[in-house]
Each structure stands twice: as structure tokens, then as C-alpha cells.
Symmetry: D2
Subunit: 357 residues, 4 copies
């Protein structure tokens, strides 16, 4: 497990650095004979693309995905599906001043300690650019899952102190509604305030954190494998493999710590549904047929346009003021990534359950 | 991945139901020629054992571990280390009334949906009794890690509304101090209040949630594998594989969502340490040499001695009032489990890093 | 992959040394709700047991298997199925003289080099006693496969120079016929000669090699995963994980090297069967619906009652004459092991194919 | 395990069909900070390339490999190393007549049964063209292994009835000597006869099988993981994952079946080496420090220019005479593939052993 792969039956392996020739991946285990909508995949990539709005990095990458294998007359053949996204708008010289600098709260230092060598350009392998590959695989997984009646929707429920108090109470949302505002928060008034906050902080050379809420509906009961491969454990792993994440909570989450059993328990309704859904759709690590929902916390972007204490290669202190093109807040662009990682995880368990049933 | 194994190079596979003949496991990949302290392993088991204090289930299990292989003259041979813990105090008849009942917020229903069959006695495979096996493997892993200078300490930082505000600020703690009070909260006054709250709720036939804080010190920089096997992603997975968990946060965690970059970034000190540690000791999924710390949220125990809406096997509503022996709050006994899962995860990554270095 | 596990969806993990407290294993991923015939499993173990006949080691092990989990009212629950076989007839003192001796063509030396420590008693972990655990898991897998119409039969086709020339031409055989003679060769006259050869060599303090032929009928087309997890590649791996094996060949095997394409190609019959079956039932790593057959070569048992050049712990030469209880030829007892490993491999691929279909 | 990956710590995942846009792969887990000789990798690819000699397919593929990631200033960074080889000389129309035909002894039928869909052009995913990707990864692995003193050399030891009787007795060979003749048999007179045989059969529209001998020298004792991941079991799996293979034998191989223990045992010499090497350098699944050697059998190429009984898509009989460009014998071009798979397997175990030591 050198780290570039996820999944057992549905498996994604990615490659590529921010400023290399290309990024891409290999999708293995996608069910055969399924008609794949390539335009819909590109549309998902466009939702993640930098430069798409007022609140995202101005780096202009067209992020055109090209498929190299595994498809024949637009259907999956069962063979691995490889794809690449060429890097076109690299400005590696922007990073020359970082060649021998470890930036605070970046992975420069930990990578150097681990590998003894580092591709410093744009964060190299640790760049969030890698997540574009996840969106490709996730979009494909979503197409298959939707054909089975499973729908995944994520949105921004918090930027800095601005938040939706109980996002789980929002009714069914469509993507159009979520994408209507560039912040991807479905409450229009709050979205405007979030955007203003982000732009104010960007103006001040600063950045801000946030969180994303995600819900999967139509997931049949029975997905997840006890005891170590519990469904929410794997969802947590998938989410916390996304850049800049700091926390994951399922259903009632950290609120559960201050509740009593009589408040928290989800009373059954006849037929198997429950009156409340504090469990978040998973009991004992296995889906119970209710909607699955969770939240993911993201830290503020580490690159800020202010003087900070960094280190040089001799580990001596050095003042640093960042340059380059950066997002002031990652959560709007992270929405399709959260959806993608959810789909990748659910499809793996879906296939697993088919094996055992 | 049918779910009963965790780890790649250091791997634990467990078996056993709450009311079967025995529980146990196989530890594979433990480094050879290491002197194993078997009494220290039993001591860790005793910390998890039911019936140990005022705030734990009165089920009396001696939880004596017996090793069957992999040790020769008290040293590890490199062969798999198998162990069993016989179940001695089963009162399966306590569960007869549950044979055809699905309890709310238990895994009865989801297991039945998944497998089409269910061992209803004491929760069967989904019982937290399984975690005793994790404690055995974790205790062994901890012995090896401590010999490399790595120390893991967990404690209760929240029970219901009672909480330590910044547990990361507590100085180095020893186990004696943590175990001094049965609640395993290192702040004596707060511990007493927590105990009172738990006992009050128990008296009222109710239960309560809580959370656990864990810190690993002495972890060298370089552990963790980008991009999917990030160290905190695997820690999250390990923690959320523990029964009753609802959330995981690393370092600043969900607080990060409301912070700005200038607040959150950890400025470097000369030599590679950082002035603050919002990152929680991990950058880009790789340890950076600072202490690793995180929190895990636990829901209130689902079994409460009150009437609740359950289902019968035809999925019709049925009123249910629990019987049997149960913990009113799981976090005190979960402390050694959190430590064990941390050790299991870190040892796997420690061996991995040795392979690549 | 520390080595004690095999399989992805159907997974066996084993433990135990020849002269430890017990051997055993954990079977994970066995389909739930299947009625398991425990007596039939014990019967398979009895076929592998030492002391069963004139041509096997006189070590008397009752090899009684005891199941600890995963079964409820004789049905599989989907939970891991653990089992142990206690070691009862250990005569470890027989091995005292080997404590500091590396025997020729045993794994004493390579284990010591690998682990820096060694349990010398009876070969420790490297003892073929471990294969009893495979027979347990394999017998369970066979029960499931037989319910799907898949039948696996192995027999001895060679002992020393005595061999069946084209074992693939033998018609359907039942176990009774194969087990009628202790050598487990279905041709009675040849079996008698084999027995005589084995007993002569044993008398002379020597041992002899042999080979086993195995055929699986009723395997549906489509099992196996290209390109690295080809069905015959995994069968080869499974077979060569059995002690004392030196070679594996599928279908035409090494004969294929001297054939021409026009001789070797299997012409199709209408409907999808083939006129000949040089392919051995697998094309491109995927079963084609024809019977799968292969041969496995076993070396002569390394323990012989003659003076041989061994090494002491300082790697100086030392003459050694073996004592203890040993088989003069392993193939008769290896027949159920080959069947078990075939079943374990086929069930894993069978479940895999269910996932993708 | 959908099949496109091999290895645990050093892992290769490949993609691509014979007549798709490109083939390629992702190498994950290659040690960081190692200077990679890209020209030497291309040179290995050239040894496998079609159209290189009198005895190989006239398809003209330049097989230029292009690296997309994981290298920085010609050193490995620890990030995954992706590469592609564009397909340039596709003549897919050559295969139009096969769109609805299942060829005998090809994987057309088994793939169709498995996936319900098939890319018929040039064998699609089942084409041996995929092995070019293995050569790239294997060449990289070999560079690292050679820096540790491990050398791998393979050659053709049999074509049809023409064979070297004891290839293990040949002294150290260099590649130049092996490649001196296009058949890659190091005995010049025999090589000439082999070539003549191949050309005669080709002339007659037929093909012929063969076998390859491979030896790895300098492998330290201790590689391999008991009990299921024995070194020779994994070598067998790796070899039998190569197209057209039918058998694998380690050391004495199938000869062992007819030997006695006193003939077969390898007496020790002082210091740990052995007088003979029937074991083939592996005892109990673990390398013992002696040279590792094995043989791999290949069937004759299934495509022959003669009328054969094939099937149409309704599984009715249909006469077929092949067209297209094909090798009359695969073993000369398979030599670098066998070396590559050996290197891939050994590097994985080499890293594994570093983890545990």
C-alpha cells in the first residue's frame, strides 16, 4: 500500500504532480457493458476546475480528460479504464523561490523527511490538483450508482463562522440549486454572506476554512463489512484522504457526545425506517436503508499572502510571503470531490455486497 | 476484504461473538525476536474488562488471554501470534426475548438485512466484546513502539455536556494518573462530575455519550503514505471501526472550519518543530515529528432501560424495554481501545516506512 | 502481506506450529446462511491425518477440529469462522538434538536467516502440519462449490518413476475409488507398485517424490481476473504454497513446449465446448467452461534416516542422521490438501465474478 | 483485485488494449531518490518489441515509452511513476473478420462469457502487447536490484523438441551472449537449429512452443513470506500471469517427482552454501542465498495460418483461417518479460524484508 490506490473491487490508482506533464489514473473493476456518459464526466471535472468563479484560484486549467482504454463504442469492457489530464497552465517559475523553503502548514517538510527528495513545484504530488482524478473516477461511479437508484449530493454548509445549523433537515436538493451560487451553499442569503467573507479575507491576503455536508439517498441496507471495514470508517478514510481535511462526523457526529440514549436512539417505524436519523443511515458499520449523511471539516488554505515564519533547507528560520495562484477557501471546489469519494466508496461496497449475497 | 482484518504489514484478524465459545485473533507481521511482556498485555485487557468499576457493565468476564502460537521462550518468532479469550460469563437466556426483535439504534436490523441470518445473543459479532481482541494486538504493538520511543496516551475529555476545553494543552500524562479515577478523565474534579452524571442517568434507565482524546508522542517524521493512505485517514478509519463512534477530528478538527489561515498556520521554529500544532502532527497525510493528537466522538449506549419502539421480524412495531447488563457510558472502557487502534495503525506505517527508507 | 492469509473475498488466515499448543485459522467471507456439514469437514481432515496408513508418518494426531465462531445452529452467519486443532501427540524431545542444527533441504537455515530466531521443534511454522488448517477451510469451500455444481477431485498420478501417462483421460472418479488404496492412485495395479516402492525406500531409510493430478468439473466460464490475477496463476500460487512442491502445470503443461500450434489448439465444438482440452479449461486466465485440470510436483521428503552433511549454528559442517516420525512420501496425504487449495482459490474467484456480473 | 495490479509494496498497475490509443501503467512504491536510467528502460523495451528479428511478428511498433510523473531531475521522488506507450501501428481492419468469431485456443470466448462484451481488435486486453508495460516496470526494478547486487538473467532453453538438458549448469551469462542470436538461446549451435525449426513451421503456417530458464543471483537469504506468500509461489503466479504460459518449475521441478530424498537433498557446505542446488535457491518458501532458478513453459502461439474450427457469435461452427501479423514462437521475445516479472516479484519481497528486519 504505497498510497496511490483506493478500493478493493472498484479500485482507483492515480498519478501526477501539479507541475508535471500530466495527471491521471487507472480505474479497475468498473462493471462491464455499462454505457458511460463521457460528457457528464467532463462536466463534473468542470465543477472542480480552478478559475471557474470569483472564489477560486485564477489558475486556468482546461482540465480536459482523455480516456486511453477500457471503453469500446462508449461502453465499459471490463478492462481497466485509464485517463489523463494534461497540465497546460503550469507556471513552475512561480515556485522557484520555494525550491529550498519549507512553508508552514504545507507538506513540504514532511515529504522531504519521508522521501529525502521533493518536487517543490506547486506542491508536487501533495497538490490538490490530484483530486481531479478522483472526480473522473467518482463521476463514473456515480453514473453506475444512479442507475441503481443511489443519489449523492454534497454542498457547503459552513464557511468560517457562517453555517447552516441542521443541514440534514434540508429537503432533496438538485445540483442546479447547489451550483446556482459559486460558493455551492444552497441557502442563497447565506451563500452571499459566505462569498463576501471569502473575498474580504482574500483581499486581506488571508484564507478561511469551511465544511461540506454530504447525503447519499437510495443506498440499500446491507452495505459495509464488519468489523474493520465498517461503511462509515471507510467513508471517513476516503474523506480524510482529501487535501486539507481535519474532521469527519457521521449523523449526529460530535453532537452525540453530549446526548443521552433516550434522545439519540432512532425509534423504528413499521417497515424498517426510523422516525429520526441520528445514526446517519449506518448501524454497526452497515447501511440500514435510511439516508446516509456526514460532514467533513476543511482547514483554511495554508498559502496566504502574508509574511510567515518558514524554514530553509538547513532548517533555519526564514521569512516567507507567498506568491502564485491560490484559492482563498477550498470548500466550494471540494464539493464535487466529496461526492466523488463518496461514490468511489459506495460502489466498492455495493460490488462487495453483490459478491456475498 | 470481508472485514475482519486490519493492516498491511502488521495485520490483525479477529473472530468471535459475544456469546459464542470464545473470541480471539491472529496477529501477523509482528517483528521477530522481540521479547513480549505477556503480563502487560493482560493488564491492558483488564483496563477494558467489564465489571471493573462503578461506571461499567456488571457482566463479569475474567478476559484471560491465552496465546497459542508465534512465541518461543517469550520472544516473537515471526510466525503469526494467535490468541483466544474464552467467554465464561454468558447469560444467553438474557437475550431470548430479542430473538425476533430488532432494537432501535442497534445493528440487529442492518445485520439481518445484510446476512439474512443473525446470532441475536448479546449482539453477536457486532458486540463491543470483539474489541478485547484489538486491545491484545494493540498492547503488543505498543510494546514494540515504546521500544522505538513512541508513546500513546488516551483519556476521556467529554461525557455529555461536561468537557475539557483544550485537552491538547494538558502536559504529558501517565496511565496511573488517567486511571486514578474510573471515568479515566485526568482532571479529578471534572471526573467526579462525570461519574455523578453517568450514575444519575443510569439510575434513570438512560445512557450518555462522550469523547476521547488521544496523543502519540515520539512519532518520527515520515509516517503515512500519500495520497489515499494518509496517516490521519487511516487513523480515522481505525477509530471509526470502534463500536459506537460517530466522529473523528485531527488537531484543530472541526474548529478549523471557522478559522482563518493566519490563525491556523503553524509557524516553524528553527530545527523543524512548530510554534503551534493545529495540524495535529500530520501534514499532507505524513507525520511531521510533532505530537499527533485527535478526538473521537462516541454516541450514548443504545441499550437503555426504557420503553422504546422496536420492530418484530415481520417489521411490525413492538414496544421493548431492555434487560441484560450494559454500560451506561462507553468512553471510560474505550480508552484502552482507542490506544490499541492507534498503536495498530502506527506500527503498520512504521514498518512500511522502514521498507521504503 | 506477512504471509499467513490467502484470498480476497474468501480469505483464510492460519496460525500454529507443529509443536505449539494448537494450530488453527480464521475463515472470513464465507457466504452467510449456508448449512455447514461439520462431520464432512472432519472426514476431510481424517484423509490428511498422519498415522492413517502404511505409507504415512506414524505420528498419531487425532486432529479433531473445534469451531469457535461464525456458526449459529449449524449455519454460517457471515461472521468469521474460527477453528482450532489442538496438538496432542507432540514429542518435542525428539527434536532436542536439532536445536542448533540446520538440516539439509529443510527450511531451518532460511527461517533463521529471515527471522534471527527459530522454533526448531518439528519444523515450527514451516511444518506441513499447518496444511490441516487449509483442509478445514477447503472442505467448507468445497461444500459451497458443490452446491453450485462444482466438483474437485485429486489423485496421485506419480510416485518416483511410476506414473499414469495421461491422467487427464481418466473418466469421472469418485473419492471412494481414489481412497480405496492408501496411495490414492486410482489405478489399482499401479497403486500397489507405488506402495511397494515407498515401503522399500522407507526400509532403506530413504524417501521418494511424486505428483498429484487435480480436476475441477462444473466450473462456469468467466472465473479469473486478467491480467495479473489469472485463474491458473492463482492456482499455481495456491499449489506452490503447499509444502514440498516444486512445479505446477496446467493442461498440456510442459508438454506444450514441444508441440506445434496445429497440434495444441483446441478446436471448438458447437455450443462452446472444445474437441480437445490442452488448455486445461482456462483461456487467457479465465475459465472457459471445460474441465480445469493441472498437475503438481512434490519433492521427496527431506528427512531421511541416513547420515547427511548438516550445519551447526556456527555454520560449521556436522554429520546428522534424522530421528523422529516422518512420511516416506507426501503425495498420498497431500491429495486432500491439493483439493482444499483448489476449492479455496475457486471460491474466491466465484464470489469475485458474482460481484462484477 | 480486479486483476490489473501486482505487488504489495512495489506495485504495478497496467492498462491498455492492443488496438486502443495507448498502453501504459503506474508504478507505485519504487524507492525514492534513486537515479533512474531511462535509456536502459527503453533498451529493455526494444528487446521485447515486435519486428525486431526473423523470428518475431512483423508488426512494427516503435514502443517508445514516455514517463508522466514520479521523476524529478531523473531521480525517483517516491510519487507514483506513470508511463504510456502510444499504439502507432494498429491495423485494426485486419481484425474486422473476427468481430463475431471466437478463435480456438484464444481468450475470445472466455472474455465474452465473463464480460458480455469484447474489444475484438488484436485480442484487446488479452493481447500480449500488455507485457510491454511489465518490461518497463521490471527494468526499473532491475536497476534497483542490481544496485543491491542482485542479477537476473533469462534465456530460451527449449523450442519444440530442441532443448538444453541441464540449463542450470550453464555458467554466468551476460545479456550480450544471450541476445547474440535472435532466438535468445545461449548455445549457438542449438540456437541456429531452433531458428530453422521456427522458420520452417512458420512457412508451414504453423507455430511452436518453448520454454525459458531464468536465474537470479545475489539474492540474500530471507526473502519470501510463509506460508501462503512463499517466494516460489509468488514467482509462479507472476510467471503464469504472462500470456501463453502453461507451467512453472523451481529447481529440480517435475524431475523431483521421480527422485529419492538421498538424491535430491542439497548437502550443506561450511558457511551456508550447498553442494548441489536442487532446491533452486528457496527452502520453505524463503530464499536461502543460493541462486534462484526456474523454468517456464509456453504453449505454441494459437494463431496459425491454417483452417480451424471456430465459433460464430451464435456458437455455431465456422471455419477460420487466420490473417494478421503474428509470432511463430513467443519465447525469444518473452525472455525480457520473464526477467521483468522476476524483478517485480523480488523487489516486492526485498522491500517487505526491509520492513521486518
Amino acid at each position: 500500500m504505497p498510497g496511490s490506490s483506493i478500493g478493493t473491487l472498484f479500485r482507483l490508482t492515480t498519478f501526477g504532480e501539479s507541475h508535471g506533464a500530466a495527471i491521471g489514473g487507472i480505474i479497475d473493476g468498473f462493471p462491464s457493458n455499462f454505457p458511460v456518459d463521457l460528457e457528464a464526466i467532463q462536466a463534473e471535472l468542470d465543477r472542480r476546475r480552478p478559475g471557474q468563479s470569483s472564489v477560486s484560484s485564477p489558475r486556468k486549467e482546461s482540465d480536459q480528460v482523455r480516456f486511453l482504454s477500457g471503453l469500446y463504442e462508449s461502453k465499459s469492457t471490463g478492462a481497466p479504464i485509464a485517463f489523463i489530464i494534461e497540465n497546460t497552465n503550469q507556471r513552475s517559475q512561480d515556485y522557484d523561490h520555494l525550491k529550498s523553503v519549507f512553508r508552514p502548514s504545507h507538506s513540504d517538510f514532511s515529504y522531504q523527511q519521508k522521501y529525502g527528495i521533493r518536487d517543490h513545484r506547486g506542491g508536487g504530488r501533495s497538490s490538490a490538483r490530484e483530486t481531479a482524478c478522483r472526480v473522473v473516477a467518482g463521476a463514473m461511479a456515480q453514473q453506475f450508482l444512479e442507475a441503481q437508484g443511489i443519489q449523492i449530493r454534497a454542498f457547503v454548509d459552513q464557511v468560517g463562522p457562517l453555517k447552516i445549523s441542521r443541514p440534514q433537515d434540508l429537503q432533496k436538493l438538485d445540483r442546479k440549486q447547489i451550483d446556482a451560487h459559486p460558493v455551492r451553499c444552497p441557502e442563497p442569503e447565506l451563500a452571499k454572506k459566505m462569498e463576501a467573507l471569502i473575498l474580504d479575507l482574500q483581499q486581506a491576503g488571508d484564507s478561511v476554512g469551511g465544511s461540506i455536508f454530504c447525503r447519499a439517498e437510495g443506498v440499500p441496507a446491507g452495505l459495509g463489512e464488519p468489523v474493520f471495514d465498517k461503511l462509515h470508517a471507510e467513508l471517513a478514510r476516503a474523506m480524510l484522504s482529501i487535501n486539507a481535511t481535519k474532521g469527519f462526523e457521521l449523523g449526529s457526529g460530535f453532537q452525540a457526545a453530549q446526548m443521552t440514549g433516550s434522545e439519540h436512539n432512532d425509534a423504528f417505524l413499521e417497515g424498517g425506517q426510523t422516525a429520526t436519523n441520528n445514526s446517519g443511515g449506518i448501524q454497526g458499520g452497515i447501511s440500514n436503508g435510511m439516508p446516509i449523511y456526514f460532514r467533513v471539516a476543511f482547514k483554511p488554505v495554508a498559502t496566504i499572502l502574508r509574511e510567515q515564519q518558514a524554514l530553509n533547507s538547513e532548517l533555519k528560520a526564514q521569512q516567507l510571503k507567498a506568491e502564485g495562484r491560490h484559492d482563498p477557501c477550498v470548500v466550494p471546489r471540494a464539493v464535487p470531490i466529496v461526492e466523488a469519494m463518496t461514490a468511489i466508496t459506495l460502489l466498492d461496497f455495493y460490488l462487495m455486497q453483490r459478491a456475498y449475497q
